[in-house]
């Protein structure tokens, strides 16, 4: 009797949530579902194998989520395979470098941005270009912050457990990237520091960034951020 009552309670709550017009986010597919979908895509087998390996590590360590990954893969079936491969290779390379490529249903990262640009009806060439710049921002931010001693560079790889520094790198790279790509700021613009600090402050206030971010914010200088931008737009050896 108790089981029946509890079951009815769960059922009633589920129906209530749906009937109240609450827009509830998406389901979380199992990694096997995502990898199964990838296996069925029209891509070279060797590339699919490498990508499956990268995604498996990313799902296990929190560098990507199955929800956004599956949606993006589904999007990519609508574009020519060679273009899809180029875009996915950027993401695979980012994972291999230990970067977070997908923050799930909050925040910004490469896969979320790709989905956003698709929603904005941008061409895949534009999206691929933005993804390659975002990757450069990640690489430049990590190397610059490490050079100035603001983060410690340990072992790098897709299977290495995430640390707070990984999220710091992502958010600094994203803020600098947003300033340059979407705010029209140039590398010498002195407003870049205020822009990045305000972004990091807000992320700290909602708990996305840990306390270490405050130390980083205090140590940031316009020169460091300008150096990141300079590195992004100069030819970089990354493959």
């Amino acid at each position: 009797m108790r089981i029946a009552l509890l079951s009815l309670l769960f059922l009633a709550l589920s129906l209530l949530a749906v009937s109240q017009g609450i827009a509830i986010p998406l389901r979380t597919p199992a990694p096997e579902e995502v990898l199964g979908f990838l296996a069925g895509m029209n891509l070279p087998p060797a590339f699919k194998s490498a990508l499956a390996e990268a995604f498996t590590s990313a799902f296990a360590t929190g560098r990507a989520t199955t929800t956004v990954t599956l949606l993006l893969l589904q999007d990519l079936t609508a574009i020519p395979p060679d273009k899809a491969e180029r875009g996915l290779e950027i993401i695979r390379y980012a994972i291999s470098q230990g970067f977070i490529v997908d923050t799930g249903l909050s925040g910004s990262s490469m896969m979320n941005e790709a989905r956003k640009l698709l929603a904005l009806s941008r061409t895949w060439e534009e999206i691929e270009y933005v993804l390659s710049l975002r990757l450069n921002f990640l690489l430049a931010t990590r190397s610059t912050l490490a050079r100035y001693g603001l983060i410690q560079l340990g072992k790098i790889g897709p299977d290495v457990p995430l640390t707070p520094a990984d999220r710091l790198v992502l958010e600094v790279a994203w803020a600098v990237g947003d300033f340059v790509l979407w705010e029209g700021g140039d590398p010498g613009d002195p407003r870049i520091l205020a822009f990045v600090q305000e972004r990091l402050n807000r992320l700290c206030s909602v708990g996305v960034l840990p306390a270490e971010a405050a130390k980083l914010m205090a140590a940031l200088t316009p020169e460091m951020l300008q150096e990141i931008v300079r590195l992004v737009f100069q030819p970089m050896e990354r493959r």
Binding site: M1, P25, R27, N112, D178
Partner: protein
């Protein structure tokens, strides 16, 4: 033949008949019961249904409860992410009088449209979206047209010439957006 001799013969014949009859009667009850058990009672479908319904057992009650539990779980599973983080209800609202459909896209939906509703038809479309703390970019789609500037947003970005609203959920921003 004398009458007494006839009587003797009759008694002997009757005794023989009784003796033979008793042999046949021996085990008759068991045979009848066996025979009855061997012949199934044919019941109609409705009789069987009535019998099933009139005989509730704890086993079937448990099966029913389990089915209800699974249905409730499946409904929740289909519509909610797992694991469920600490959610804050967030009201997203836009004035769009005369619009036929209004949706919202954002990080929280992986940029898939979520419909807004206007139950009283006053042109104010809204949705309550439970979200964990974080930074969310989003925009409205009014009859399919991108509307990226929400007055309730904390900041805006311009992406390829289109505005995108940004809302921070949690912490000191909680009171403004929920």
């Amino acid at each position: 033949m004398r009458w007494d001799e006839v009587d003797e013969l009759i008694r002997a014949a009757v005794a023989k008949e009784v003796e033979e009859g008793q042999k046949r009667l021996s085990g008759l009850e068991e045979r009848v019961i066996r025979e009855l058990a061997r012949r199934p009672v044919r019941r109609s479908f409705w009789e069987k249904v009535r019998e099933f319904l009139s005989r509730p057992t704890p086993r079937w009650a448990l099966v029913g409860a389990l089915a209800a539990l699974l249905l409730g779980f499946a409904l929740g599973r289909l519509t909610a992410p797992s694991p469920i983080p600490q959610w804050n209800p967030n009201l997203f609202v836009i004035a769009a009088p005369g619009a036929k459909s209004v949706a919202i896209v954002g990080d929280f939906s992986a940029w898939q449209p979520l419909p807004l509703s206007d139950p009283d038809g006053d042109g104010i479309w809204s949705a309550i979206i439970p979200l964990p703390p974080g930074r969310y970019e989003y925009a409205f789609l009014v009859d399919g047209k991108w509307v990226g500037q929400d007055p309730l947003a904390h900041e805006y970005l311009r992406t390829f010439g289109e505005y995108v609203s940004v809302r921070y959920v949690g912490g000191e921003h909680a009171d403004r957006s929920s």
